[in-house]
């Protein structure tokens, strides 16, 4: 690349680079300022306080509880989603009658807003007049109504299950894309060599699908980590903060309690965690494109 070309290349990406720095950089700057200052509830900066807001956060048991639950939540939703989406994608990849309709049905939760889905689930799970209790009673599975959302022992796993349900469409789409790119001839060869379906899955599908699984894993982690509507609509972190994750507690800190400084410090912690995953994702994506270029 000679000098003129180099300058031209820079000149061409400069506008978008400047825009990106402005859009991404300014909010980060703003949050850092708020996190290191005393801030009133309307966002006005007062004195510089250094790391005092972080210290408040570290001393707050609800923060640690929420952090722990955020990892359980993210791990549960992402793990469950990947485990379910791969077999679903493999099934949908086979050619069978009604595949089109089934694909649409699997994708449907994606089309409905997350908040709407959560509200419908909240009604369904209502202990007094919810549909779930009625169905279970009609089937004779339970004798008495169950209060699904009154204790964290029941409510939190249920929230994770709903999280899995709404994450499946995206993940299945990624996997379907991956599956359709797998070469058919190696399966043929494996079949001739006497490999059964399970062996073909373990030795061919899984390794070939790895890059897609990795991408789905990281993207899901980033989405789910900050997912707000399900928990907010179903339990709002109740009872006694036992279903709060970082993002729901963050909302309470910032908008209900007016502790903008502490909330900013907390969002920086969340930003740091997510940055790790984003870097992993960026590196994976780069390696992919390098490998693709090498082929």
């Amino acid at each position: 690349m000679n000098g003129t070309q180099f300058r031209l290349a820079w000149a061409m990406i400069l506008p978008s680079l400047a825009l990106a720095i402005w859009i991404i950089g300014y909010p980060i700057y703003d949050v850092v300022m708020a996190a290191t200052h005393e801030v009133n509830r309307f966002g006005k900066l007062r004195d510089f306080v250094g790391v005092a807001n972080f210290e408040t956060l570290i001393a707050d048991p609800i923060f640690w509880g929420s952090l722990r639950r955020t990892f359980v939540w993210t791990g549960g939703v992402v793990g469950g989603t990947l485990l379910l989406s791969l077999p679903i994608a493999i099934m949908l990849n086979d050619d069978f009658h009604g595949r089109g309709i089934l694909r649409v049905i699997i994708m449907l939760p994606w089309a409905v807003s997350l908040t709407m889905t959560s509200i419908v689930w909240r009604w369904t799970l209502n202990g007094q007049y919810g549909m779930l209790n009625e169905v279970l009673k009609d089937l004779g599975l339970i004798g008495q109504s169950i209060e699904w959302l009154a204790t964290a022992t029941l409510a939190f796993p249920i929230e994770i299950l709903i999280g899995i349900l709404v994450s499946i469409p995206f993940t299945t789409t990624v996997f379907l894309g991956g599956l359709s790119s797998l070469p058919g001839d190696i399966y043929e060869a494996a079949r001739i060599d006497g490999a059964g379906p399970w062996q073909r899955f373990i030795n061919l599908t899984l390794p070939l699908m790895r890059p897609f699984i990795n991408i789905a894993l990281v993207l899901n982690i980033i989405h789910v980590f900050n997912s707000f509507p399900i928990i907010w609509v179903l339990t709002q972190g109740d009872p006694a903060n036992s279903t709060d994750i970082l993002v729901t507690y963050l909302y309470k800190l910032a908008f209900r309690y007016g502790r903008i400084g502490d909330a900013s410090a907390m969002s920086l912690v969340m930003f740091a965690v997510l940055l790790v995953f984003t870097i992993i994702y960026a590196r994976m994506a780069m390696r992919e494109s390098k490998e693709a270029a090498a082929q």
């Binding site: 109504s145 009154a150 009872p239 309690y257």
Partner: protein, 416 residues
């Protein structure tokens, strides 16, 4: 270079859009615009405020009133972000419990320069107090309510109870009889969750047991012996199976729904329930009585306030709108009647609609005993701390005294 030209072009387009925006703003400024945010009480709220605006605009053709109707759940967040972004409205309804935070940060304007003694005299005094801070009026009570006990007359009759319970002991005895009617019936509806007033449901018990949210020396009173007794009363009802199951997931709408379905004997609620019952459960026979007593009478008085923002450039006109339209007898009667609140104007209270209503008497009789949410900064966080402690106790995951004591400590920490 064509690319540079394209870039210049797009800059020029953006400039033109910006100019257009300025031009638009300019044309609107020919008229004085007053932006009003009304909180969504019901589907009628917007219509009522549009009506006020139409009346006012007819009298002042040079003023344009813009009404926006915002749901309660997002109102606080909306106002905070608007103020932070420098785009606060001129007038808004707020929960009076937020007022101290707004006043402390100089967000709302004092009304003392505008308010005349005659105007002030039109309000029922007790409702004016919560929005008066250090002797200055910062908000006008726009919606007022008190709480009382709704009881299902049919269920009480079936259970052989002649009179609605007047004390917590009587309530427990009544709840036992109602509960015995069948699996689907519960004696007492107890709210333990939700964004609105999960803590307030406990204050009814606290106050009637003689407790206070803050003691006289300004410390949290939620771990006092009276508070412990108040909590034991509820805990006892829960543990005896006399409330609906799942107290810690039941918000206000949940227990009100149970009452409308005729499945719960008694709940504590506000005057708005009457309108809802007439609409949604017209066949339900119910009565309204005072909140059961422990050692004394009490009710929770709640007002919402209408405020003028400090940054408003049209405060004079905003006040005119409040005085001439929003707080005219006509619109006060209309609003109070349609939204189902208690009158805040003496003249409205004297209106036959209200004066001759025996059910409303249950609420107004309690007004001399009304307690209001304390005017302290960071109230919401304290209320949530209380709610959290109560949920722990209701679930049986913590003993009454130590759990309340820990919450009181935390609240004292927030106070400092």
């Amino acid at each position: 270079m064509p690319r540079k030209a394209a870039l210049l072009c797009s800059c020029a387009t953006m400039g033109a859009i910006a100019l257009g925006a300025v031009a638009l703003a300019g044309s609107a400024q020919a008229q004085t615009e007053i932006r009003v945010i009304a909180s969504h009480y019901s589907d009628q709220t917007a219509t009522i405020f549009e009506g006020m605006a139409a009346d006012f605009e007819a009298a002042h053709p040079d003023i344009d009133i813009v009404i926006e109707d915002v749901p309660w759940g997002s109102l606080q967040q909306r106002l905070v972000t608007d103020v932070a972004g420098g785009t606060a409205p001129d007038i808004s309804i707020i929960g009076t419990r937020w007022l101290v935070d707004f006043v402390e940060n100089d967000v709302v304007a004092s009304m003392d320069d505008y308010i005349t003694p005659e105007f002030k005299d039109r309000f029922i005094e007790v409702f004016m107090d919560p929005s008066t801070i250090d002797g200055e009026v910062y908000g006008l009570p726009v919606a007022a309510s008190a709480r009382a006990m709704y009881y299902n007359e049919d269920l009480l009759e079936q259970a052989g109870i002649a009179e609605p319970p007047a004390t917590w002991d009587e309530l427990k005895a009544a709840a036992e009889k109602i509960d015995a009617l069948g699996d689907d019936y519960y004696g007492f509806g107890l709210q333990g969750a939700g964004e609105t007033e999960a803590d307030a449901y406990w204050y009814y018990s606290l106050w009637t047991h003689g407790g206070e949210i803050f003691t006289e020396d300004g410390e949290s009173g939620i771990a006092s012996p009276e508070a412990v007794a108040a909590t034991q009363t509820y805990k006892d009802l829960i543990d005896s199976g006399l409330t609906q199951p799942g107290v810690t997931s039941a918000d206000r709408e949940d227990i009100e729904a149970l009452f409308k379905q005729g499945r719960v004997g008694m709940i504590l609620s506000g005057p708005w329930m009457r309108g809802q019952l007439a609409e949604e459960a017209p066949d339900l026979n119910y009565g309204i009585a005072g909140i059961p007593e422990g050692t004394q009478k009490a009710t929770y008085g709640v007002t919402d306030s209408i405020v003028i923002f400090a940054d408003s450039e049209v405060k004079d006109e905003a006040w005119m709108f409040l005085e001439e339209a929003a707080f005219s007898d006509k619109w006060r009667t209309e609003f109070t009647l349609k939204e189902g609140f208690l009158p805040v104007f003496k003249s409205v209270a004297a209106d036959p609609h209200f004066a001759d209503d025996p059910q409303l008497k249950a609420f107004t009789d309690l007004l001399p005993y009304a307690q209001f949410a304390p005017l302290v900064p960071n109230w919401q966080e304290m209320a949530d701390t209380t709610k959290s402690a109560l949920q722990t106790i209701y679930l049986g995951e913590g003993e009454v005294e130590p759990t309340l004591a820990a919450a009181a400590d935390k609240i004292n920490g927030i106070l400092k």
